[in-house]
Assembly symmetry: C2
Homo-oligomer: 285 residues x 2
């Protein structure tokens, strides 16, 4: 596996592959790989000739007071893990090369980026769109794989790709979970042992909502499901709900009743410091 740091070198490699008729898959990440990342990489490996994994802790998608400075990082370990699943290039550009002096361009997906995480993280999805566009231009992938764990991000990127006619297939990979049900996340490393137990309130909410849907013979009122979940989570010591919503999986607009395209989507803060998100469809298809 090759480590590439400079954008120009990445583009040169991608152009060479393209000229040889080889297909390219990109897995954009912020590093600190866990089994979820590795699952995306394995899927990329199956789907294309060349696999590029980008590793870039993108400063412009972090707000003031967020965890940019403390975001976990271990390049040596990440290189080892990426190589172990057959990645061809680990592309880890420097922020100074991604955003040189004078940089001033932003991409915004207006509606989809507004609510949910966008409400508490203004500008977050602008930063995500902008960096993903840059990575697409630099690595020239035929397809790019994103985890469903960041469901709003996936919807925003899909919309950007469609709206701007990007010649990149956006592929969703299901959320990978710990045995306990906790969605894998690099930010789980912030959790102390007893906090991991608290963090399970998210997965429990998913199971609870699915049971409710299963048990009901009529379509459930989404707001009622949400307020039950909020009550459950708030009763977990140290857990604060940022949002719990049931939305249409495509438009991310609130559902009145739970249907096949509904998605339960949540953000919770554990002990006021670690912000965790999770989401799931509620109706078995």
């Amino acid at each position: 596996m090759k480590l590439v740091q400079h954008p120009a070198e990445m583009t040169e490699l991608a152009t060479l592959w393209r000229d040889e008729g080889r297909t390219i898959a990109l897995v954009p990440t912020m590093g600190s790989f866990h089994a979820g990342h590795l699952a995306l990489m394995r899927q990329a490996r199956q789907l294309s000739d060349q696999v590029v994994v980008s590793l870039f802790v993108n400063p412009i998608q972090f707000g003031p007071g967020e965890d940019l400075a403390t975001y976990p990082c271990d390049l040596q370990k990440d290189m080892h893990l990426a190589a172990s699943v057959g990645v061809d290039v680990l592309y880890a550009p420097l922020a100074a090369d991604m955003y040189p002096p004078g940089f001033q361009t932003t991409i915004r997906v207006a509606e989809l980026g507004k609510g949910l995480c966008g409400a508490s993280r203004p500008g977050h999805f602008d930063g995500v769109c902008t960096v993903v566009m840059k990575l697409f231009q630099q690595a020239s992938p035929h397809l790019a794989i994103f985890g469903e764990k960041d469901f709003q991000q996936l919807a925003v990127i899909r919309r950007m790709a469609r709206d701007l006619d990007l010649p990149v297939a956006i592929i969703a990979h299901p959320t990978v979970r710990e045995k306990s049900g906790l969605a894998m996340s690099s930010r789980n490393s912030y959790l102390q042992e007893e906090e991991i137990e608290q963090a399970l309130c998210l997965y429990r909410a998913i199971c609870f909502a699915r049971e409710m849907v299963k048990a009901s013979t009529v379509p459930l009122v989404a707001a009622e499901v949400c307020s039950k979940i909020i009550k459950n989570i708030q009763s977990t010591p140290g857990c604060d709900v940022e949002y719990v919503e049931i939305v249409d999986a495509d438009s991310l607009k609130s559902c009145e009743t739970v249907n096949k395209n509904s998605r339960l989507i949540m953000a919770v803060r554990v002990n006021r410091k670690v912000r965790l998100i999770d989401n799931a469809g509620l109706v078995e298809l």
Copy 2:
């Protein structure tokens, strides 16, 4: 020459050309071709294997109260003219195909798009960037040619291409002028005969400023040159200055003194209805 209307067809053609190793030049236009457009097309013809001219009166770059509805349009004539200079494809997509329901993505170049025309046309350059990005993705050009007449647009597009790592060379074509000196513009067709005479105040300002620079042995104070020009233009019956500035050609920031990289840049309204722009370097290189 082929007329292409559907984005998917344009992309298919471009992919075919790329696969054959052919280079593609794009000349983005809003139609109503004059000798300025044709000069850009001829340059494109010289620089690449395939020449695509896009013709799209882009609704999202017009503000309320602007001339979207009345913008001149003659497809038959434009087809004839484009064919006469060896254009391969005239690409004229429909607004409904460019911006289908649910479209919500915008590209903004923050600083460069703010002042000058951006001040009186909020959102204008966002619309320009967004459509140019779409055209780039659809037609996959190796190079794209823009007229210097729209100098701020050129600077904004250059910045977008650099910031987002677009693999497209942005080429500037000098402003083409009538014998009288009037910069060619589709909007000149709005002018009555006597208004054409009034519109010459722009070109006269350029000549005046150049003479001042030539005659001076010390660097001129930009603000003083501008206020003389404003006085001259305001004394032309029916002419109202929207802005007259001398800016750095790259940053578009105001110059204190006139230097080799200074650009005189102006917007004037003739008889309160026709808005005209012009610009020029002031120091002979």
